[in-house]
């Protein structure tokens, strides 16, 4: 059993007829994902990858049981699409949209908490369980990055994830489930909220987090470790150690302000809680070998 998405997860793709939507729907299916249908208002009756398209989520869930919604919807329509999925009883939602307005992201998270759902994203590549299923857009065809294994990965980045995961694989490991929480200041789901899933997941022996400056998500992970809510080995790689204060390095969430959110404070918190912190991507594999039994098989 993987976390969040597996081969039996019934997936509805919102925005399925768009360029991104149809392209990645094909790849999700290729990897084994159980896409049952899609939604694009005005396109009911069409088919994408032989899956039926509906005008609305409500109309889709009348015809199909749906466990998860995968959104390929532009940022300014994302809140509406998420609320639509939640209102139809879907409790797992992934959105890749980059540029969701901050206040709408807060409302999405409020709605998600209200419905006791999990909304992952935006500004992420999504979720992948290599070799099994995918909600998002990963280059799953690059084997030296997306190989199945025992390491859970949580990340705030895109390209950097490929970089780090390649190092994980190069060290002889593979990935159980990779969750991109996204680079926005208010992600729908935070690292610490995913840890219980990794804790329970039998496939996962250790977790790698790919964090960066800004925010407090890494500190929350440390708290979970300190309170023994998460007890598996954890290795972190954090970008932006040398970033100057007050400049936004890339992601909107990646900013130090008033001394808060510096990588140094994150490292201290994680190490105090028993985690290991790699200073370079290549160190991630080395540290994993230290902490995982029979490291890299």
């Amino acid at each position: 059993m993987s976390i969040f998405v597996d081969r039996d997860t019934r997936v509805l793709v919102q925005g399925i007829t768009g360029n991104e939507g149809s392209f990645w729907t094909k790849h999700m299916i290729d990897l084994g994902t159980n896409v049952v249908g899609g939604v694009t208002p005005g396109k009911e009756g069409q088919r994408v990858e032989d899956r039926p398209v509906y005008h609305s989520v409500r109309r889709a869930v009348k015809e199909h049981k749906v466990d998860a919604a995968m959104l390929f919807v532009p940022p300014r329509f994302t809140m509406d699409a998420v609320l639509e999925a939640l209102e139809s009883g879907i409790r797992k939602v992934v959105t890749i949209a980059d540029g969701i307005p901050l206040h709408e992201m807060v409302k999405i998270r409020e709605a998600s908490q209200y419905h006791q759902a999990m909304v992952v994203g935006g500004n992420t590549s999504g979720i992948i369980t290599p070799g099994r299923a995918m909600l998002g857009m990963f280059p799953h065809w690059i084997e030296r990055v997306y190989k199945s294994g025992s390491i859970g990965v949580m990340t705030r980045s895109g390209s950097l994830t490929n970089e780090v995961t390649a190092m994980v694989v190069a060290s002889g490991f593979g990935v159980s489930t990779l969750v991109g929480v996204g680079g926005d200041p208010v992600p729908g789901t935070r690292f610490a909220e995913l840890l219980p899933l990794y804790q329970e997941d039998e496939q996962t022996e250790a977790v790698v987090i790919i964090g960066e400056l800004g925010g407090t998500m890494e500190e929350e992970v440390a708290d979970m470790m300190s309170s023994k809510a998460f007890t598996k080995p954890l290795v972190a790689f954090l970008g932006g150690r040398t970033a100057p204060e007050g400049k936004r390095m890339g992601h909107a969430g990646a900013i130090i302000s008033g001394g808060k959110g510096s990588v140094q404070s994150k490292i201290e918190a994680l190490e105090a809680a028993g985690g290991m912190v790699a200073s370079r991507p290549s160190e991630v594999g080395l540290l994993l070998k230290e902490v995982v039994k029979g490291g890299g098989k």
Binding site: D98, S159, A166, T242, G250, A252, G259
Partner: protein
């Protein structure tokens, strides 16, 4: 997008928040005339976006015309090259408060912060004595409720006759927060004057970048950027930060670019510019390389690991750009991801020997930057 103080205060006034009388100027003469009109003493407030203006001498207190002229000249023509000065009347201050509205990402709530001690940075206050900061969370779905403002107004110790004013200001700030998709709206200090009025001594308003499309009111002109290059890159939609080192970055992905930035520093190299060549920009090799070349850098380092941003297209773009721009400095490439086999072929054909390991590429770039040094 952070607004200038004078812009924030303009919006404050529209919503009924009182600010000191002020006049915006852009020359020393105008400044002196404004000071005359407002009377002495007055304050010259440099309209720049950096923090700590007071400590940097960017907010001189002015007693007479001569000083207004000389100080204004210093500000306009000195090292900070201040674009505008907001000349403001001096206010008889009894006390200073702190007040802001922003978002708490973890709770996913709006958050109001108030402190009976203003004028200092809220973060340092939080470290000194968190009990001095009063917080109030609110839902962005159902909105801030009056009773929350009422309760908050009785948590800070202010005179009874100020409570009503304080409530109005919080309400106005909330309207601004929601109407303008603010990340942060802050009044620090919020003056309590000797006459018993609440007056916004400063104004900080940061608009959410992801909402700029619908916040048509705010246009990013040159003065919002620290350099011409940053402004031009922004116009071209390319994330760009100016530094003053030797290595120009042209990397894909915010996280990876930041990591390369770190690795260069570890290796003792110095970054000339941060530039994101990836995501929506992966076909903009020409524009990106041109920006890099305008820097006084010694090496261009290209690191990517793309999915949709196909390696072969990026490689072809780089080769084409190099042909057109004829770079006067070496280019180190480390281009991976979708289509990387094809990319390798393209780069090799053009005589750009590709590397495959980021750390190796960084080392190569740093070495080159020092050799050329």
């Amino acid at each position: 997008m952070r607004l200038f103080e004078y812009q924030a205060k303009e919006i404050f006034r529209e919503e009924g928040i009182v600010t000191p009388e002020g006049i915006l100027t852009s020359s020393a003469e105008e400044t002196a005339a404004a000071a005359d009109a407002l009377g002495y003493p007055c304050v010259l407030k440099s309209q720049v976006l950096m923090g700590g203006r007071g400590k940097k001498g960017l907010i001189p207190f002015i007693q007479e015309r001569k000083k207004a002229l000389s100080e204004a000249s210093r500000l306009f023509e000195g090292q900070w090259a201040v674009p505008r000065i907001l000349v403001e009347e001096a206010v008889d201050i009894e006390r200073e408060l702190y007040l802001s509205i922003s978002v708490d990402p973890e709770r996913a709530k709006g958050i109001i912060l108030v402190s009976a001690q203003g004028g200092v940075e809220i973060e340092s206050l939080a470290q000194d004595d968190a009990s001095k900061i009063h917080t109030e969370y609110f839902s962005l779905t159902s909105g801030l409720q009056s009773f929350q403002i009422t309760d908050l107004s009785y948590r800070i110790t202010i005179d009874a006759q100020l409570v009503k004013q304080f409530r109005s200001i919080v309400k106005a700030l909330y309207v601004i927060f929601t109407r303008y998709d603010a990340e942060l709206v802050e009044i620090n200090p919020l003056f309590i004057t000797k006459q018993g009025a609440l007056v916004a001594g400063d104004g900080k308003l940061m608009i959410d970048e992801n909402s700029m499309e619908r916040q048509k009111r705010f246009v990013r002109t040159r003065e919002f950027y620290e350099s011409d290059m940053e402004f031009e890159a922004a116009q071209a939609g390319i994330p760009y930060l100016q530094f003053d080192g030797d290595i120009s970055l042209m990397c894909a992905g915010a996280g990876l670019t930041t990591t390369v930035y770190d690795l260069i520093n570890y290796e003792g190299g110095r970054v000339a510019n941060y530039l994101e060549f990836g995501g929506p920009n992966y076909r903009k090799a020409y524009e990106a390389m041109e920006l890099c070349l305008r820097n006084d850098s010694k090496v261009i380092l290209i690191v990517t690991f793309g999915t949709i941003a196909r390696a072969d297209i990026m490689a072809q773009g780089i080769v084409d750009a190099a042909k057109a721009l004829k770079p006067d400095r070496p280019i180190v490439t480390c281009i991976r991801g979708t289509g990387e086999a094809e990319a390798v072929k393209i780069l090799r054909e053009a005589g750009l020997e590709p590397l495959f390991d980021t750390e190796e590429a960084v080392k190569a770039a740093v070495r080159l930057s020092k050799e050329i040094g």
